[in-house]
């Protein structure tokens, strides 16, 4: 938020630049700021009491619990598998480079898949009418219309996030340090913690924040897989959807406010992690 020195501005601040800045401000205000303010105002529109009433409904509390559980489980699994997969793709000499290139091109696929289709895929493979689905329900652990399916759907959607943060860093730092450490006798586990981890730490932090944001906000895939059963598989986002469907806009707005506050907090953490990571921008 720095103001430019006068010499620079006098040279640059022609009418056209003023117009461009004005356009940019209008885009941000119309597209981002007004809607955000609207969510806050809307939530308090019917008084603080009705806001809390909407949030303390049993189904709302249950939805918060489910969302929290999905976020925690997915973030843990995606971080673990994401870091390991990234290491495998960049460092795995045991795979031929062709296989690695093939796997690498598979990573981004979930970005191209509509969340609804992502959920639908899980239905097709593990739904109640399928062999696998029947097998798991007989074991007493149904997957679709239950928690495991929601975790799977969210894992699918968040899969690329961690890998795409870490793989470039691993590529960039190269293997020299790790090799030196190995030669000096430090073995793989120690090498990882002492040499690899410090360099990917901020990438992992950023990946975790992205994963939390995405799993918190996932809607389409979870809606399909969960069946949106109240007090059972309903998450915060699918509750917002149901409230809107029932024309209970005020209640939807209250839940949305909680989600928006979480998102903005995550956005702030993202900014902080980005700065620590020392990378300016990312497309995903």
């Amino acid at each position: 938020m720095s103001t430019a020195p006068t010499t620079l501005t006098s040279k640059k601040s022609s009418t056209s630049s003023k117009i461009l800045i004005l356009i940019t401000y209008s885009v941000f205000i119309l597209l981002l700021i007004i809607p955000l303010v609207q969510i806050v105002i809307g939530a308090f529109n019917h008084g603080v009491q009705s806001l809390f009433q909407a949030l303390l409904r049993p189904e709302a509390l249950h939805a918060m619990w489910i969302t929290l559980s999905v976020v925690v489980v997915v973030t843990l699994l995606n971080t673990l598998f994401g870091v390991l997969t990234a290491i495998m793709l960049v460092r795995g000499q045991w795979l031929s480079s062709r296989v690695r290139r093939f796997l690498n091109s598979m990573i981004d696929l979930p970005f191209a898949v509509s969340p609804v289709i992502g959920g639908f895929m899980i239905m097709l493979l593990l739904g109640p009418q399928t062999v696998m689905g029947a097998f798991f329900s007989d074991l007493g652990m149904p997957i679709v219309y239950a928690f495991p399916g929601m975790v799977l759907a969210t894992l699918f959607v968040t899969f690329p996030l961690m890998i795409r943060e870490i793989a470039p860093v691993l590529q960039e730092i190269g293997t020299q340090q790790e090799e030196a450490a190995s030669m000096l006798g430090a073995y793989s586990w120690t090498t990882f913690w002492k040499v690899t981890w410090p360099s990917i730490r901020w990438g992992v932090t950023y990946g975790v924040v992205l994963t939390v944001a995405r799993s918190l906000g996932e809607f389409g895939a979870v809606l399909v897989v969960s069946g949106n059963i109240m007090n059972k598989t309903q998450t915060m986002t699918t509750l917002v959807y149901q409230d809107v469907d029932n024309f209970n806009i005020a209640a939807a707005n209250s839940v949305a406010l909680v989600l928006a506050v979480c998102s903005i907090t995550l956005l702030l953490v993202m900014e902080w992690a980005k700065r620590r990571k020392g990378v300016h921008t990312h497309a995903h």
Binding site: T24, V116, Y187, V240, Y241
Partner: protein
């Protein structure tokens, strides 16, 4: 721990688990959906996709996603340029706000649009008075798509601007080229790869969008029903065949876009 990790069997098991995880989570489901769409035979597939409502949904999605892409390419380029080039109060704040649509749940994005432009809002009532339907009509779908894909072009153009060689621009200026000429002949070519790849990403994301759109589109079959909502409807009404057929069309389009972006980036990288 080291002893366990270095054990040959453990290492083998570990590697298999990783490959299996990727295979089961990503590759199997995607091939599964293609297989399912053709499982009842080619004729059934053709029949499913030639359902006029399915076609209309796919066509509407393509048309509106293209429109959202073009809008994003224009405002994204301007925004990236202004954020990079000019110093003005609030610049850092705006730059951080760019990522908001990525961080915000899409259902919340949809609700925002509903609240702002819906029938009970002042904008909605004003538009109604002059005979334009925003929410439950095409305009709201485009707004939802633009909102959700807003960061793509900006985040693709910004790194290019940071890397760009400023001397070229200065040379053009010194040689007496007008501002617009400098823009078209020097700056725009520098930004072009970012505008294209960011725009394509925005396009594929807009085609796939569900959460924000389903809340504002009204979902009238043949009119405001987009492909992803159509698929959802077919799943709900227990017609996996129809859902799979449209999914395959949508997926193939997205994969082509992704492939195109990768080729483009590989070319730029060399």
């Amino acid at each position: 721990m080291n002893a366990v990790l270095n054990h040959k069997g453990a290492l083998w098991g570990f590697r298999t688990t990783l490959l299996l995880y990727m295979f089961l989570l990503i590759i199997l489901p995607i091939t599964g959906i293609y297989a399912h769409s053709l499982s009842a035979g080619w004729n059934m597939f053709v029949e499913s996709i030639s359902d006029p409502l399915a076609w209309k949904a796919v066509w509407l999605t393509l048309r509106l996603s293209l429109l959202a892409m073009v809008i994003n390419m224009v405002i994204g380029t301007i925004t990236a340029w202004v954020l990079h080039r000019y110093q003005f109060p609030g610049r850092t704040l705006l730059n951080s706000l760019v990522d908001l649509p990525f961080a915000l749940p899409t259902a919340v994005g949809g609700l925002m649009i509903l609240l702002l432009l819906g029938p009970n809002s002042s904008v909605g009532q004003w538009a109604d008075a002059i005979g334009i339907r925003i929410v439950f009509g095409e305009p709201a779908i485009v707004v939802a798509m633009v909102f959700v894909t807003f960061p793509f072009v900006i985040r693709a153009v910004q790194p290019l601007l940071e890397e760009a060689d400023k001397t070229q621009e200065e040379a053009a200026h010194t040689l007496g080229a007008s501002k617009w000429r400098t823009f078209y002949q020097v700056l725009l070519p520098q930004m072009r790869p970012g505008i294209i790849s960011g725009g394509m990403l925005a396009f594929s994301r807009a085609m796939a969008e569900f959460g924000a759109v389903v809340l504002v589109a009204g979902n009238i079959p043949g009119k405001t029903l987009i492909a992803s909502v159509y698929i959802f409807g077919e799943i709900e009404s227990d017609n996996p065949q129809g859902a799979a057929a449209v999914s395959v069309i949508l997926l193939t389009l997205s994969f082509l876009v992704l492939w195109f972006i990768n080729t483009l980036q590989a070319k730029e990288g060399r």
